[in-house]
């Protein structure tokens, strides 16, 4: 199975072959698909070295002058190290930049907490005029790359590094900003990124009848969301993210805004546990944060 990042960059490669204004800036971050890009399109590929702030600034300069720029690095550094640069260039000046980070959640399970990305939704959604694309499988990665011409302003594209199989048979529509994977009844599980294929598998394995919603963009269409959740009695949010400010927090805000009383339960990473130095795979990290998917679903 092709990874999210290779799928994404393969699509951008095809688009860039026909459009020399597409520029990829990498803060010395690779991907097999990018090897092809830099070999065949060297004038459209820039490596800034491990200098994420400069990669954002140079990208913003190019984008200000009309280039279509994708800046790429490990997501935790590209967001958290550069937040104030992004704030001024993308949110204040509205320079359209595509910030592509790999390593959502515990994508780098053996690399320790510097590489865990469990604050980015909270932080990036605080900035106006930046749309978040949270990618749950390779087909979604393809959809995001294919729709880049429709982007209204800057984007933050968060990619998973590991492979959990494909949720979708073909690139899904991003119009509503979410997709229902399983209709189910009574309870609707809401998640994003790589947890969605994992939850989907667990629901099937345990023959559970809950619905499952994959949040693909933040913000998403509120009217469509309101209509969709009206048939459920309870919402359960599960996220590989601190519970402060993440998807669960966002949904509390949304329910409040829509004046909907549907009960909601949030499961994520409690900030009281701080950062995790457990190794041996994603499940070990989940244990540290007491995030037991099977238990939650049952």
């Amino acid at each position: 199975m092709k990874t999210q990042r290779d799928t994404f960059w393969d699509e951008i490669y095809e688009l860039a072959k026909k459009d020399r204004d597409i520029i990829v800036i990498s803060a010395d971050m690779g991907a097999p698909a990018l090897d092809k890009f830099r070999r065949d399109l060297p004038s459209q590929y820039i490596n800034t070295g491990i200098a994420e702030q400069n990669s954002i600034l140079v990208g913003a300069g190019l984008a200000k002058e009309g280039k279509k720029v994708f800046v790429y690095a490990i997501a935790s550094f590209l967001t958290l190290n550069c937040i104030e640069k992004i704030r001024v260039q993308c949110s204040m000046m509205k320079i359209p930049l595509n910030i592509v980070g790999v390593g959502a959640g515990f994508s780098y399970p053996d690399s320790g907490p510097t590489h865990h990305l469990i604050e980015d939704i909270s932080i990036m959604r605080a900035l106006p005029f930046i749309d978040i694309y949270s990618v749950s499988d390779s087909n979604v990665a393809k959809s995001v790359a294919q729709s880049y011409k429709k982007f209204k302003h800057s984007t933050y594209i968060r990619l998973e590094r590991q492979d959990f199989g494909n949720l979708y048979n073909s690139p899904p529509s991003l119009t509503s900003g979410f997709q229902r994977i399983i209709e189910g009844k009574n309870k609707l599980i809401i998640s994003t990124g790589a947890l969605v294929p994992q939850i989907s598998q667990l629901l099937k394995n345990n023959q559970l009848s809950h619905g499952l919603l994959d949040v693909l963009t933040i913000p998403f269409n509120l009217n469509d969301f309101k209509e969709l959740i009206s048939q459920y009695k309870e919402l359960i949010v599960i996220e590989e993210h601190f519970t402060t400010g993440g998807l669960g927090s966002l949904l509390l805000e949304v329910l409040n805004e829509l004046q909907i009383q549907t009960p909601i339960k949030r499961f994520g990473l409690s900030p009281q546990h701080g950062y995790c130095y457990s190794y041996g795979g994603r499940e070990e990290i989940h244990k540290y944060y007491k995030l037991n998917l099977e238990k939650i679903l049952n």
């Binding site: 200098a51 400069n54 600034l57 300069g61 190019l62 200000k64 009309g66 640069k85 001024v88």
Partner: protein, 271 residues
């Protein structure tokens, strides 16, 4: 403009900046006064290509005032050159005004929103790189404060611009030796600054930042791109130049003259 006219323009703008800051009771007066000759050279010395009636003209040279605290000066120049009505200056940093203490790109003639330091050089490098990619002939100028050089991102961008041979990029350091609370060499030494910049692969020229003629000559030469590498012009300046009563005192950073400084400041400039 000949040298005498340029000097007259410098004095005229110094007076205007003082007026603006006094009226608003805010604005970084001393930071503006230190870079008057630099900006006068660029705008009035036939260096920058600009069109006040078409501020976004694609062939304009790009000027990024990364030390955005000198905004009263840039706003005064743009008003003087007809980018907008001069009356706007009376509303600097006040209700219904179109601009405030730092820079915003919504003002005609202003390239970037700025105020957070350490952004301008990387942004300028990206802009200059675009010009190289598309063989555009316009130049990019970035004016940095010396206090801004403490930002690490400046040095990330310095390496990048040199590696990509951005000789269509000119950096200018307003080297007034003063930061917010103290002299730079007391805070964390910046010297030997020229050596540091040279070691990052740039050309570096140090000039008297109040010699408008000399600055202009250097800018003229750099327009012909005499070197493959980008050039940094270190302009040795005095923070508060023209108002001696406010010079050499770090605590005059970021303010309009206080009540007890106002009369002397006006007298210093003949206002």
């Amino acid at each position: 403009m000949n040298n005498t006219k340029l000097q007259e323009k410098c004095l005229q703008l110094r007076k205007k900046v003082l007026e603006i800051c006094l009226k608003a009771k805010t604005g970084h007066l001393t930071s503006s006064l230190s870079c008057v000759e630099i900006l006068v050279s660029l705008y009035y010395g036939n260096i920058l290509n600009f069109d006040s009636q078409e501020p976004d003209s694609p062939n304009r040279d790009r000027l990024i005032l990364s030390k955005a605290q000198a905004s009263p000066l840039l706003y005064a120049i743009l008003a003087d050159l007809g980018f907008y009505d001069k009356e706007e200056l009376n509303l600097f940093a006040q209700k219904d005004g179109i601009f405030g203490v730092h820079l915003q790109n919504t003002v005609p003639g202003v390239e970037t929103t700025a105020g957070a330091l350490g952004h301008g050089l990387g942004l300028g490098a990206g802009i200059a790189l675009k010009a190289k990619m598309d063989r555009d002939l316009w130049m990019t100028y970035v004016i940095l404060g010396d206090g801004e050089l403490y930002e690490g991102s400046i040095w990330e961008s310095m390496k990048f611009a040199s590696h990509h041979n951005l000789n269509n990029l000119v950096g200018i350091i307003d080297r007034n030796y003063l930061c917010t609370t103290d002299f730079t060499e007391n805070i964390v030494e910046l010297e030997p600054l020229e050596d540091k910049i040279l070691s990052f692969g740039w050309n570096c020229i140090t000039v008297d930042g109040h010699d408008v003629n000399n600055i202009t000559e250097n800018f003229e030469r750099l327009k012909s791109r005499p070197s493959r590498k980008p050039t940094m012009l270190i302009c040795n300046t005095v923070k508060g130049k023209g108002v001696p009563s406010m010079c050499y005192d770090p605590l005059n950073h970021g303010i309009a003259p206080r009540e007890n400084q106002t009369d002397q400041a006006k007298k210093d400039l003949g206002l």
